[in-house]
Symmetry: C2
Subunit: 341 residues, 2 copies
């Protein structure tokens, strides 16, 4: 990247794709003195080696209400999901509110009620909070930052180093719904039937999946940047080749149509209620059938597998297209969908 | 409060005083389904009864750089201090950044370096983070939300229920410096000598103070809303009468002069590096002399004591003025100092 491009923060630096990874890798992480600044950290508070997961996310979605959800439940489920895909059981949540002066109290109340209901549904307790108000024109209604703490059970060990050739790649549900729902609302479009955000808490599904820990090697939720960016992250972190099959991707009809209309690629559109799991080959079929019994994973799909060791394709995601060709899948390059979560 | 007054969020709802308490008490806390939404929560992750403290704070200070500090170190020390006054040892920090499009990368780097240095000084590890970017005009440069986790040692038990008549009230250092430093910068005023923010990590001082746990009954850091608001909170939560002595308040000359110029009362001006402790009467003198050995508490002062049981003054803070009168001290009523932290 050229120096000039990095002198000011661009909208694309927040879109979850390549620009954001560069910002974090080249600036945030080294300057903060941390090796990585991932979605969720595993920490050891010194209690006999017992581990906790700890995560934070800022929510700046615009508009605040969209088909199928709002910023309140999103800020609960998003953080619950970051803990869940780290293999943790979500327990405690904090909520920080940055409110623009003049924001309607009634709207704030609706968001708070939605957060409380979401926390109840996910079985997590909101225990700490903070509220700040900025002058009119210095914010945009409401920003929410939540932090989550969960416990990691003994024996659970997830990570890119466990991934091996032959492992199966599972996506737990239909892709692209959250991003399309938000973009439709933002552009004043109404689809029939409407595409609703998939925002949902994944901890129940994850609990079922990690009952037998060695089967699942790694999980991640493909939010900002979509399935493509998340797969590319997994490929880079593991140094493996991920091969996926376009025809196997569960793209709902409504998402496909909306993406054509909006000029989007469903692979890059944000999700808020699905996960990608890399699973041991010999366990994939039985895990997959157990997953299908869960309401959130009834449309789960095995979308590909980890390729054989090959120096030329290390760290790459290769998509076999419907017509039999192969396409390299990279991260979201820039600013496709700002403020999607 | 009249209904009309509550229909929109006002700047004063973020100032740390009475309006903010009403917002949290009447809206945020009940709607989130929590009994209290204090600065720091004590949580039990289920590890043999071992306790953690968990806290969050949003930082929206304007300007980002002020005499004696900047938003970066403030966002580390503020959260370290919330954990510390809860009697916890700060261990892990998360950082969420909401950045306005076009924000200079160089300024972001300065803030990040300052955060890393502050974390090093406080002995806390930054382990998780998130970055979001909003369009130009939809934010104000940079907002930071940090969350902190600390461990609470066995035997440490702090809380308003432990406060008794006769307990001494100690403030650990000079008051009003942070608020005056920010207001001076905001108004283009330069004092000679300059008043610098007191932003500093209090965990070292607190460790020294709670070596012998029964001596300290409760601690709190008087940030937004100042010493007055914090004392009033303690009075309300304990149902006691707090009696303080105007002449005993450590108000530095520079703060006094600046407050006269800016029309502020030092009792309501924010601090970011001092704490208020309620201490058992018979231990106060020895604790006070131990505190004075710490660099951050060399100007500590015993500013008053908890009054005798009296139904008429329960929950009140009474200030004995320099001329011998008595004044009731209430919370900051409204919007004296927006975006001070």
């Amino acid at each position: 990247m050229m120096r000039g491009e990095m002198e000011r923060v661009l909208l694309g630096h927040g879109s979850g794709g390549r620009l954001m990874h560069q910002l974090i890798r080249d600036h945030v992480a080294p300057l903060l003195g941390v090796s990585d600044l991932g979605d969720s950290a595993t920490i050891d508070p010194g209690y006999d080696g017992r581990r906790l997961a700890f995560t934070t996310d800022c929510y700046v979605v615009s508009p605040l209400f969209f088909p199928g959800g709002n910023i309140g439940e999103l800020s609960v489920y998003g953080t619950v999901n970051d803990l869940s895909v780290a293999g943790a059981r979500p327990l405690f949540l904090s909520a920080g509110f940055i409110i623009e002066e003049g924001f309607p109290m009634e709207t704030l109340q609706k968001v708070l009620v939605s957060m409380a209901e979401a926390a109840g549904r996910a079985g997590i307790r909101i225990v700490a909070g903070d509220t700040k108000v900025v002058e009119k024109g210095k914010g945009d209604g409401l920003f929410i930052t939540t932090c989550g703490i969960g416990t990691v059970a003994e024996g659970v060990s997830l990570g890119p180093d466990r991934i091996e050739p032959g492992d199966k790649i599972i996506v737990s549900g239909p892709i692209g719904r959250h991003g399309v729902a938000v973009m439709a609302e933002r552009n004043g479009l109404a689809f029939d039937p409407p595409v609703l955000s998939d925002t949902a808490p994944l901890n129940g599904l994850v609990e079922l999946m990690i009952e037998r820990p060695p089967e699942v090697k790694m999980m991640r939720d493909p939010t900002r940047g979509g399935v493509a960016t998340t797969l590319k992250e997994i490929a880079l972190e593991s140094g493996r080749t991920l091969r996926i099959d376009e025809d196997a991707l569960p793209v709902p009809g409504g998402v496909r149509g909306a993406c054509e209309l909006l000029g989007l690629d469903p692979l890059y559109v944000a999700n808020e209620g699905i996960l990608i799991a890399i699973v041991a080959a010999d366990a994939a079929a039985s895990l997959f059938s157990r997953m299908k019994d869960h309401a959130l994973a009834k449309d789960a799909a095995i979308i590909g597998e980890v390729g054989a060791e090959d120096r030329k394709t290390r760290g790459m995601v290769l998509l076999r297209t419907g017509v039999g060709g192969t396409r390299i899948v990279d991260m979201l390059p820039g600013e496709q969908l700002p403020r999607i979560c």
